[in-house]
């Protein structure tokens, strides 16, 4: 069975040859994460929608410039990142801080029961990620949902791999402490 990366590669070649269906499949496949990342970058639902749409349209229009020297997803997320940075600059929004580690989130409001329904755990996790420093939330999404390697996240965000690793560790520790407060004591 074809893996996700191979599927992307084939779809990109078809899209570069003007295959509309391949373009649609690429959009369909990546749109959710593109929007999710945009939301992390921008923080506001309506603006994130604009940024995500803009990034996807830009990517699909310039797909013949994708040369395959990186993964398609890495190339696409880089476009999302650049589009979001331009948007923030245009709207005079403060840039994401790449150095501040962020405050520790409050853990007291969360339940400790391990038998919580999965959906409830997800909503807890959503809330927990929302409490992270926006850059940490973004790194978590790129690493886990985007399945990007540290070097690829470095290409996308410009943050060094070592810093990413440290930030991911801190972010996971915070999330673990929120979802399982007994871990905060260790």
């Amino acid at each position: 069975m074809m893996n996700s990366q191979e599927e992307d590669r084939l779809l990109v070649v078809r899209a570069q040859n003007g295959d509309r269906l391949a373009v649609e499949r690429l959009v369909r496949k990546h749109q959710r994460l593109v929007f999710s990342l945009s939301l992390k970058f921008i923080g506001h639902h309506h603006d994130a929608e604009e940024v995500a749409q803009d990034a996807l349209v830009k990517a699909m229009r310039s797909i013949d410039r994708f040369e395959g020297d990186a993964r398609f997803s890495t190339w696409l997320y880089r476009i999302v990142f650049n589009t979001a940075v331009s948007f923030r600059r245009k709207k005079r929004l403060p840039m994401l801080s790449l150095d501040e580690p962020g405050e520790l989130p409050v853990v007291s409001d969360f339940q400790t029961d391990h038998a919580l329904h999965q959906q409830e755990r997800f909503s807890q996790l959503h809330e927990a990620i929302a409490q992270l420093n926006p850059t940490d939330g973004l790194l978590i999404e790129l690493f886990y949902l985007g399945e990007q390697q540290l070097q690829e996240i470095e290409q996308i965000t410009g943050i060094s791999s070592n810093t990413i690793k440290v930030r991911l560790f801190r972010a996971r520790q915070k999330l673990a402490a929120i979802l399982d407060p007994s871990l905060a004591l260790r």
């Binding site: 899209a15 939301l39 749409q53 229009r61 013949d64 391990h114 996790l125 999404e141 260790r186």
Partner: protein, 156 residues
Amino acid sequence: MMIQASDQQLLWDYLDNQLDAKARLALETRLAKEPALAEQLQRYRSVHQLLSDDKLAASLPENFEAAVLAKIPLKQQKNPLTASSGRLLNILMIATGGLTGLAYWLQQNNLPGLNTNNLPLPESQTLLMSMLCLNGFLILLLIDRYLQHRRWLHGA
């Protein structure tokens, strides 16, 4: 029992498949001997599973996909600057510019380069002017191509 930060990092790396075979084996040996470490791994594993689930991604706004696809033209157009006609234009520009410069240099230095065809001076000036005009025309074409490129890039 307190788990050291370096061990915590090791556990996350283990779950994220960031360890090489040797390091994995070493950790697995430790896990068999250190129940506290194994317990911590189980706790991290439940968080890790949640983090790796694509349900974590935000839900799409309504009609998002349709809005994106509507902005992408039905027929994918080639980038006007990198399409073959764009490349030809760039090559022509450089070639004509080079020839114009050469003609100008020959004329300025009174060299017989333009007289190889036995052209008298006024005619060589006419030739030079023609080449300058051609170059100007190509520059206009190139500007038009760049404007097309900008429109193409911004989806107009």
